[in-house]
Assembly symmetry: C2
Homo-oligomer: 419 residues x 2
Amino acid sequence: MDPTPTAPHVVIVGAGFGGLAAARALASAPVRVTIVDRSNHHLFQPLLYQVAMAALSPAEIAVPIRAVFRDDRNVTVLMGEVVSFDLEARRLALADGAQLAWDYLIVAAGAETNYYGHPEWALYAPGLKSIEDAIEIRRRVLVALERAESADDEARRRQLLTFVVIGGGPTGLELAGAIAELARPIAASDFRRIDPSWIQVVLIEAGQRLLASFDPVLSEKAETSLTEIGVRVRRGARVTNIDARGVWLGDELIPSSSILWTAGVRASGLAARLGVPLDRAGRVVVGPDCALPGHPRVFAIGDIADFETPAGPLPGVSPVAMQQGRHVARLITRERGGEAREPFQYVDKGSMATIGRARAVAQVGKLKMSGLIAWLAWLFVHLWYLIDRRNRLSVFLDWCWSYLTFQRGARLITGREPR
Amino acid sequence: MDPTPTAPHVVIVGAGFGGLAAARALASAPVRVTIVDRSNHHLFQPLLYQVAMAALSPAEIAVPIRAVFRDDRNVTVLMGEVVSFDLEARRLALADGAQLAWDYLIVAAGAETNYYGHPEWALYAPGLKSIEDAIEIRRRVLVALERAESADDEARRRQLLTFVVIGGGPTGLELAGAIAELARPIAASDFRRIDPSWIQVVLIEAGQRLLASFDPVLSEKAETSLTEIGVRVRRGARVTNIDARGVWLGDELIPSSSILWTAGVRASGLAARLGVPLDRAGRVVVGPDCALPGHPRVFAIGDIADFETPAGPLPGVSPVAMQQGRHVARLITRERGGEAREPFQYVDKGSMATIGRARAVAQVGKLKMSGLIAWLAWLFVHLWYLIDRRNRLSVFLDWCWSYLTFQRGARLITGREPR
């Protein structure tokens, strides 16, 4: 549809799961849509850890935003960085000086890694939010193995071969499981001086159980699976410092040169630029229609929004963002037809986490699954939701290859040492 | 074969085509082999321009060196940077302080981009020698299109949409053809404000013809092909300066923000650290057995070596490096059996260059091919020589997809703006 220039203009900030869902739902509506993102691609975040673990290539889990909206003539894609909003004048400014005026604004800028007041830890323990993060983690893990191969000093080698993942949520489990399954077979087949048994993978969780948002039965199954593939799980362990030597739990040091941080996120810094009240995690508090209180034409969705329910705020997961995106798109379309707004209702379709080859946990309503069946469900769902059909085939082939050979297809060290 | 520790130790510096060929040939010989490289992967350079042009992912043209020698127990792979050689004491030093003693040394460190005394041009006109180079070029070309989409100023837009390739050798032709075939279809399908006819691709060659090492008939055919797909060829044009505005040919400025440099290479800086005579291109002059004069157990092969023939030095192409690598490996093996050295004889199997979809030129002895048949030969040869079987399949699928859809599978902007 190529609407008239007088059609209302919907500006969407962010092309993650929420922004993309909103734009796709509006692609057939009588509105003009502009979607702005800092990067040129939509990233399939759930598989980002597989890029970090050398199983997939970046291009397999990312698709150019322009390519998604190729045939939607009412959608304009802009690569740019939003620097300020003027809610009264209904316009925003980009870093290159351009201004965008809106009739409706949907802020879907997502979340960023949260070090809870210790930004200096980022240097030693990168988070996993972008392609760049994933490539940097891949570089660190592969370089640690290379250095261990030529290290003569035993203490140094132990530090190089200890991989610490901080945070016992789904991403932490996926990373810890994948490191164990990447490093040991490759040490055995491709390295000459590393005994696979020297490789330690430690998963640190501050709380009393892993996967706190899952049923406790599945938390236990997940921990059993991790232990079986050789991950040491440390629950109730609070990280007090991270430096060049490793991770400190009070007086105890876990020597490690490869530390990954998945212990928390906070809302994108863009939330603070809206000039409206934020919650403790820096998120924009929204009303039942996902709009900002007092600004009915400004919406916040996904990880940047705090949507309160009787059971607490909705979790920062992709189904919430996608459903909110579609809800707001529908609401805007109907409002143009004079219909009243309906409140957003989240439909929880369940959650899953994978722990290496043929092991996963999943819960859908009261149904709980673990082991091979949960893993097959995980494979199916993740292939299904990959946006690009071409990537679906290529990811599937890569997975078959990795599964059959225990090898990884993207074991590349690229980029340079930071600092 | 797992030879005794007393077997002679062959150290190979560089895992390009030459070093890899030598190590593979020695993998079944009664010697110990150590192959040292700055990176962890062997790179299939002939397809690097396809990574720069978003057609392939880095992992599709690179394979971990360790994976190549997985089953060869007499081969040790070290990732490290050589900083000095001591030819008398027969050992070299790595940047991390380690020392490697050799019985035989094969220096196969390759070549680097040559700006002929203008290193400051590198900032505006990157060369194409590594994965990092290719990703940076991809970033620049895709960012130029993104900026052109939002540019209001006509002169600025013209600068953003003019792509200049400097150097009329095979790499320059491949890049220029690929840019033309990447940018115009994507501008038409995925961008809203760029008229494909605004996109200019200029190929600059200082000499009087393109592909100077080919038969003049093929030079002409190549130029015709380039012109047909919309590349403007400037022959006999000497670049006098490159700056933020574009490329200067004397007083004439070609405004461009995307300039690629393929106009020359020189030997790796490692050549100078050998402390032996070099030629004007910084290469090590070697004898008929590829050994350094006065140092019969030190060899230099491939792009770092100057091997003189009655027709001049051998060209810096991969078949020379591979044949020399195998020659030196055979020579070392035979010498252990008491046989005398034979001189190296280069067998020229021909050369080819591709110019976009279904167009290429090739010459094999007196046979000259162009058009579709040369292109099919090019496809076949390049798939054949890809080391990894898995990559062969994945590259083939990507090529089919690109050919059928005119789309590129790896259109990712990653990394950050330099400076």
